[in-house]
Amino acid sequence: MISPIWIHTTTILLRSKKADGEQELNLTESQELAKQLSLATGFDQDYITRLSAKTLVLKTVRNQTSKGKISSFYALVCVGDRNGMLGIGEGKDLIEPGTAVLKAHWQAVKNLTRVPRYEDRTIFGNIEHKYGASVVHLRSTPPGSGLRCNHMIFELAQCAGLKDLSAKVYRSRNKMNVVKCTMEALMKQKSIDEVALERGKKVVDLRKVYYSVEKNDE
């Protein structure tokens, strides 16, 4: 499968050099950023540096004022540790798109939340969620299926650490709304342990009982 060309991979806090013509972020600058973020959020500085970020949407937006059309840059960035934490953030800047991406990255790290995962690879059951005009159907798949979904959901799932997922987006496929819809849908999940606690039931791992096989993730 060829990935869409328009997705810009801007992993902000990179240690290695970027291609010619692109802006390079100073190591000390990124370290300073990570330090400020760690103070603001409470996450470890090293952890923040090693988060994988993806710019999902980067576009110019216009505001009509008395002085005319004022255009600014809007960015939507998703950030994740590929191990269950995921966050999205939006940022806007008047002058530079890079600053908008930076602001979005900052917000995304501030909005990091845990995504419940079944066996650390897929979601619990099927989820249908509606956000505005976007309807997203997420389905859990057996191991080895991979991420067969919309490109926006693919990026979110990758950053979150989901390995097997099947999804379909109905009605509006507006990138921003699809991302927000998927975020809400992923948070809407209830893990099996949670359900058991709610209902006062005991959870039994059949694989362990019948085949004496421990769960992969624990």
């Binding site: 079944y118 099927n126 209830k190 359900v195 209902r199």
Partner: protein, 156 residues
């Protein structure tokens, strides 16, 4: 009995869950009682009490033809961490399209396969089946006893 009334109960319970009500009353019928007891066994509701229109009975009151019209079933809703335990209650077999299953179909359905147009079983989902003896039991119980039945409703 009446699936129309059951559909109304389903909608009512979903609304109560969204409104975070602690107690709610539903009409007192045999089917409703069977479903309510099933929900209680599965842990979706905290209590099932018979009562009148105003509230559950503190002392047991005999149901007679005189007071039958004012009899209601009072169910205690459950919530945990700002989320309701019983969030979805949907009919599968509807008054305009009934859904009946043989024991082998029920087995495949319980295993996770789709049954015709009925979407597959979800983790933590409970499905009530009405057997030929008009007994309302859980899907897995019906599979164990190898019974045929009508897929009444699915609860999450």
């Amino acid at each position: 009995m009446s699936l129309v009334k059951l559909a109304n109960v389903g909608a009512h319970l979903q609304n109560c869950a969204m409104a975070k009500l602690p107690l709610t009353k539903i009409p007192y019928t045999k089917l409703h009682l069977q479903i309510a007891l099933g929900l209680y066994k599965e842990g979706f509701i905290s209590s099932v009490k018979r009562g009148s229109i105003t509230g559950p009975d503190l002392t047991p009151v005999e149901v007679t033809p005189d007071n039958i019209s004012s009899r209601r079933l009072w169910l205690g809703m459950k919530y945990r961490e700002n989320k309701p335990v019983l969030s979805k209650f949907q009919l599968i077999s509807k008054p305009n399209r009934r859904v009946f299953c043989t024991s082998s179909d029920l087995r495949n359905f319980a295993a996770g396969q789709r049954f015709r147009f009925v979407k597959p079983l979800q983790p933590g989902e409970v499905i009530f089946v009405r057997t030929r003896e008009k007994e309302v039991i859980d899907l897995h119980e019906a599979v164990k006893k190898q019974l045929d039945g009508e897929l009444l409703c699915r609860i999450q």
